[in-house]
Every structure is written in C-alpha cells, then in structure tokens.
Subunit: 470 residues, 2 copies
C-alpha cells in the first residue's frame, strides 16, 4: 500500500443515481448526500484519506438495514457498514462509492442477562456506553481498543486491546450476532449457550470479516464480574529488552495479569508532553491485576519479583480508581500525544503480533531499524499477547520521509511474518494491508475469496477491503 | 432421526471401482477392503449402526492425504476423515460409502513450543498420548471429552468436556490447522500468533465442521502450565436442584473452577456397580480446583460455602493424584457403567447446552419427563457450561422403548432450544441431529450450505453429515 497514489474522492465511474432515488423514496431526507457528510463518513482515524460514499443513512433497526440492503442489492450498489469510524486501515472508506450505513443511532442495549453474564446490544453501542450502562450491575465489558469504538465495528474488526491478555479478543467474547446477508435474509449465528457443536461457526466467520460478508445488526457479548480487587502499577527499565523479557516471563509463569503494556522512551516523552505527567522517560510497563484481594496481592508480588530480576525499577502503585483511570487515559492518548513530537507529522498507526518467544527479537530488530531510518516512531504494545504498535510520524509532504516510512513498515510486517506472526493483531486488513494478507495466508486466501463470492456474489459489502477489488 | 430406519450397509447404488483401482495403483495393499475393516471404520461409539466405506487407508503425512483427496476428487468419491472413532452422532459413518482416511498412525507430535505454550501435532495424536508426551514439560492439554479421542477428531467436532468451564473448548484452543481442501490444495489457516485480525477466521470455520469442508492434517494447540496446586472434591445433595443451583452460583460468583460435574442418583448407582466404589447414591458434584496453593484454598472454601447454603453435604476431598485419577476415571466410565443398569440396553448418548440461568429448569423438566416415560436415563453434565448429557438406555428390539426414547429425546432437544440453548454442546450434528440443526439455526443454515457447496462442490467430504445429503 503506497500512501502516494491514494486519491481523495471516489472514482467517477461509480455513480448510483437509481439507488439514491430509490433510497430517497423510502427514507426521504434521511438520505444524506452533502459533501461534508460524505467526506466525514469516508474517513476513519487513520492516515488513509477520505473515500466518499454517495450517501449516508442513519439507521435504527434491522428492518431499515434490510430495506437498504435490498435496494442496494437491486442496483448493485456498495454498502459500507459504519460504526464509530475509529478504524485504522481505511476500513470505512467507500472505495467504489455507494451507501454508508451509519449505526451510531442504532445504539440500544437490548438485554442484560446478569445471571448468564451476557448482554445483547445493537451494533452502534460504544464500549464506553456499554460500560457506563453496566456500572450498577457489578459487571463490565473488558475489551478495550483505546478508542471509544462501537461494538459492531469491534466485532467486524476482531478488535482487542489492553485487556486481551486476560479476557481475549472479540473472537472470544462475541457469543452470537444477528446480521443481514447480501440477499436481504436476516440470520442469527447462534444462541446464548456458551458453547455449541451445532454446525459451522458463522459467529467467528463474521467476527473479523470487516463488513465484507454481511451487515451486523445485533451482537450478544460476554461480560464479566467486576473484580473484587484491581490494582495497577508502573515499572520503568533502562532497556526495552528487559521490559520485554519481564513480560515474556510473566506470561510463561502463567500469572493471569489483566493488562501489561509496553511504552518505549519516546512514547513516555510524548505522554509527559501531552498529559502533563512526570513519568520517567524510559521504557515502561503499565500493569494491572484483577482478582480477589489475595489473588491480586499474589500476582503483583510475583510480577514484581520477575521485573526486579530483569533490572526493573520499583513498582509505582496507582491504587485508587481515579489515578488508574488517568494512567490508562494517558496510555490511550498516545496517538494524540505522538503528534506533538512531529508537528508536521501525520500518524501512521500499524500493528503486528508474534509468538511471545519471538517478541524480544521482533521488537529489538524493529527498534534498530527505526534508529537506522532516523524516523520518529513511538512504540507501544499489548505485549502480553505478543502484539505491538508503531506510530510512524510522517510528514506526507516530505516524499523522502513517506518512502522511508513505507519501507520501514514493509520490513516490520515481513519481519513479524517471518517469525510465524501475523501482519495485524487487531487493526484488520482494511485496504492498507492487502498485500500482506496474501503473503501471510498464501493458498488460504483463495477459500476466503470463495466464501466472499458465494455469500456476496455482487460484492456489495464493503468492496475493496481485505482482498482488494476482486 | 429415527433409529428404526437405519440400515447396516451402504446403499448399493454407491460403488467406486475406478477409485479403488486408482488407490490400489498408488497405495498397493494398504488399501484395506475386508468386511471386518469396513465394518469397524463405519461405526463410532454411538448406537448408530455401521455404514461401511468401500475402503480404508491408513495415512502418515499430508502428501498421502493429498494424493487420496485428488484421486477421490477425480472419481467423485466420498472421503471420510477418521480419528479415534469415538464420536457419538455417527460422524464417521460412510453414508454413501467411499474412502475412509484413517489417521491413527498419522500421530507424530511435531513441535512443542514451551515458551509459547503451544504444540503442533498430526491429527491422529490422541489427547492421552499428548498429555503423556507433555508430562515432563510441566504443561498439559486440558480438553477432556472423556474418550481418548484424537486431536483431529476433537477439532472437527468442536469437542470440549469436563475442563471446558475453565479452559474453553476446541474452538478456543486450536490456534491454527493445516488442511487439504477438496481440490487438493493444502492450506494453513493461521500462524502461531495468539491473536490476529488478518482475514476470515478459517480456523474456527474448520473447527466444528465435522470433516465436511476439508481434511485436517495438522493442528496447532494451546497448552497450559500444570497448575501449582490441584484439588478435587465430591459433594452430595438430596435434591438435583440444589446441586444445580450450587453450580449456577459458583459460576455467577466468578470462581474459576476447573471442573464441576453433575451426576444424578442413577449415575452414581451405576458407577458404584461398575467401578466398585461406595459413593452415596444421590445427586453429586465432582469438583476440581486449579491454581496457586492459596488460590485453590480460596476457591474451594468459597465453593464449599455455596454448596452448604444449598444443602450440600460436607466436601469429601481427594487430595492425591491417584485418588483424583480414580474419581475422574469413574466419571469417564459412566457410559460403560450405565450398561449395567439395563443388560439389554444400548446406550443412546445425547447432549444439549443452555444458558446457565435456564439450567435448573431444563434439567428439572427433563428429569420429570424421564420419570413420566419410565425409561432408564442416567444424567451427567458439564454443568458449569450449562451442558448436560442423557444416557438413554434403550433395548433396540423393544419397539415401544425405542419410540419412547425417540420422543423423550425430541422433547429434550426442543426444550433446550426453547431456552435459547443449542441442540448439542459438544457431540456435534453427525447425522443424528440434522433435523435439530435446521430448527436451531433457521435461515443461517443456508449460508452454511453455501459455504459447503463452494468449498466442496462435489460433496466429497463426509457427505450426509450436518446437513443431510444435499
């Protein structure tokens, strides 16, 4: 994927006047076609420029989604499902124009089954909205990609984040979905039993399919009891390798740590600039422990022993909720913080994930590579999963910088693949990583495409994503 | 599914002389065609009668599987993947004859990545073989369906068992698979990263597909550190409902119990007869706790408090490995034990799974139903998952008994479905539960069939399973 040859608008050959007319007949002035709206909805939080849909419609229920899908199917018009727009690989860009279905007002929490630890939500519910709603129930939804993403978007991207080392990813936490297929059929992929051996796992097929197979209209999610005790700590190191080796040993020891995030020196510097904190500007781990009072004590003592053996500093504890929230807010704001390091720079956020045994090598070689390029690229990571991110700070008007970043990115992803890792742990393919999907999956891309073609023969759903234009 | 209209042999219209000749050219006298072998491989451990394949070939590597698939594809001949033959819904029956691929000697443990807690195995490796191999590494593979099933079979059936409440099912523990598709292509569905957002989740699509989409030739599995402490206990109750309510509260309290099995009075009676034990013949929970010394103590104290509040008896602890093994052996032998209750009876083992909030109702109504029929049907269950089994003891020569059992079974499955549960938690559909798949998944069966048809257009792989003959 080259940044250079992206254009700002949808190619002119795609025009869908009959679709727009049919939609207007049904939905009246709810069919939004202003330039401002189209531009906004064609863009996510990544550096990928906006690719405009022809229209945007806010929906409220599955019947409306079904009506739009049927109209678009009749006129062979692309449909782009849209959640909170927080994706990072251009996943919401309307590469062939078409109709964006905005789920931001399809945000009802339909049921909370507290005895079963599950909730049923519409796709536009955001993770913060869900957790605010759940607060008084003693339960929470742990998946936390940083951004206040929508549940539908998170399911579609197979998102994860800081808590995944303990609670898994969307793959593990979506119990079933309801979705509208390309022919307008509404299906439900499962029921509320926590396990089933009945038929193909359509739930897991739709989770991570980035809106290319169906439009998700409802999600049933696992939720968890809020732990009796939570404690968080910050630990600094002189060397990144010592921090990484600590994490590897924490995981290998089987400590059920809830969060363990690596932030390198540059990231810590940017956090101090942005969040007005006074953290040491050296490689740092942010840690969090969940459990019973005794369990948390045991976990954190063991963890501190491990970090000490790896030359880590003393744990700085953040015991109350407010301090803890501030710490994780600082972690989540690293993208904004990074911008301060390079005023002309746009952020190119990318992630890879490798087996934990290769994490130290992968991070070490990548850091050396960054130093050799002279680029600014803070590194942060959900390292308990072997997953880390680079925030490449790139001035898109500086061709040399753009090319150096592209080459660095390419080497980083190939490095992860050569270590039996994946080209993306949690951002998805979108249209930014298509070339790497091919390298990673080889012959397995073909059955994926066959599934896409049989379920969506006219390539209505989010065309151009994951596989390119087909 | 009616027991009555099953026939013993494959229909005569299916004959594949050209396939057999081509296989013999390639594999010589490794192509087994004796009646004894065909009969053996056409049958699993269920009551479903043997449906013979035309030939059986033991394979050793993926290249041999690929050769057989190519020959069978050329001649449009069914391929039935075969592991240990321990399935329970006729999953290995050759309904249209064809070629059974026996993986029992494709049983190499290819790699143990102890730093990453994963292992790579050929599909014929059994779970006991794997755990014996792992013993000295300090790791174990927790999924335990009772039978000494093969890993390939367990992946194909999305198996689980006693430990699933803590460690999940095969869905959660298969990291990736290698498989041969119907066109002979060999694919790998993923890499060894613990999470990925790259493309469709073909791993989860093949897990649970019962050999209908591809033939699995290698499986990468999660393994776990052997817990520092393990302790097990037996607790008896006067009423099944008290036992069930205890389990519901244990789960709702968030206690990370490793195993919690319900055995009803009839099951306990059969265990005492078979295993020469002297357990109380009343509703019983078998419990197991894994963790640190303190963690196990804390978990078990909390659990005992809960069972006491629900009128449970004192915990009888089995602290050493030998006693614990004996207890779980007795649990796993309930199928054999059940036979002693009804000398002319064959065992019809079936399972359903419901949300835990409905478990007490589902078990209660099912028990009442059993009593009203007068059938013998011991009940056991992985109740922490909401999953339970009936062992219907049926004299197949007694038409009245057969009909009563069929009707009871039908009511039990529909009851579970009406409670937002599934028609099978872990046995799979095979060809015994096809009618229920349709009821459970409704419109979602069609996309499943579309996937089957596009990936296996000639219906080579295990035809007649999950969807019927198509």
């Amino acid at each position: 994927m080259s940044i250079a040859h992206l254009t700002e608008k949808s190619p002119e050959e795609y025009e869908y006047p009959a679709t727009i007319a049919a939609l207007q007949k049904q939905f009246g002035d709810r069919v939004l076609t202003s330039d401002a709206v189209r531009e906004q909805f064609g863009k996510d939080e990544s550096f990928h420029p906006s690719k405009w849909p022809h229209a945007v419609i806010k929906v409220h229920d599955k019947e409306e989604v079904q009506q739009i899908v049927r109209i678009c199917a009749e006129h062979k018009t692309p449909i782009i499902p849209h959640g909170a727009g927080t994706s990072l690989e251009g996943n919401v860009a309307a590469l062939k124009g078409g109709v964006t279905i905005d789920t931001s007002e399809m945000n009802q929490i339909i049921a909370v089954h507290s005895e079963d630890f599950d909730v049923v939500v519409q796709p536009g519910v955001t993770r913060r909205q869900l957790n605010e709603y759940l607060r008084d129930t003693g339960m929470f939804f742990p998946i936390d990609p940083g951004a206040n993403a929508s549940i539908g978007g998170m399911a579609s991207t197979r998102a994860s984040g800081t808590n995944a080392v303990r609670y898994g990813t969307m793959r593990d936490n979506v119990i079933n979905v309801e979705a509208v297929l390309a022919d307008g059929t509404i299906i439900r992929t499962g029921n509320r039993a926590v396990k089933s051996a009945a038929g193909y796992d359509l739930t897991r097929l739709l989770v991570g399919s980035e809106g290319t197979l169906a439009m998700i209209t409802e999600v049933t999610l696992k939720v968890y009891p809020i732990p009796e005790a939570i404690s968080a700590a910050v630990c600094t190191f002189d060397e990144v390798s010592d921090a990484v080796n600590s994490v590897i040993q924490i995981i290998q020891y089987g400590i059920p740590i809830a969060r363990v995030e690596l932030l390198d020196s540059l990231t810590m510097k940017s956090i101090n600039m942005y969040s007005k904190t006074d953290y040491a500007e050296s490689p740092t781990l942010f840690l969090e422990f969940h459990g019973s009072e005794n369990g948390v004590k045991e976990q954190s003592e063991l963890t501190e022993e491990i970090t000490k053996e790896n030359n880590g500093g003393k744990f700085s504890w953040t015991s109350n909720t407010e301090e803890r929230t501030k710490m994780w807010r600082a972690r989540h704001d690293v993208a904004w913080a990074g911008k301060l390091l390079h005023p002309k720079g746009q952020i190119w956020s990318t992630d890879v994930c490798v087996p934990i045994s290769r994490l130290a090598d992968c991070i070490g070689e990548t850091r050396q590579d960054i130093e050799e390029t002279g680029l600014l690229a803070p590194m942060v990571g959900h390292v308990g999963d072997g997953n880390f991110h680079l925030l490449l700070l790139v001035d898109h008007e500086n061709q040399e910088e753009v090319e150096a970043a592209e080459a660095l990115h390419h080497r980083m992803v190939l490095r992860a693949l050569s270590m039996d890792g994946t080209c993306t742990g949690e951002h998805g393919i979108g249209y930014g990583k298509i070339e790497f999907l091919e390298i990673e999956h080889g012959a397995a891309v073909n059955p994926m495409k066959m599934i896409k073609k049989t379920l969506d023969p006219d390539n209505l759903f989010n065309p151009g994503k994951i596989f390119g234009m087909m």
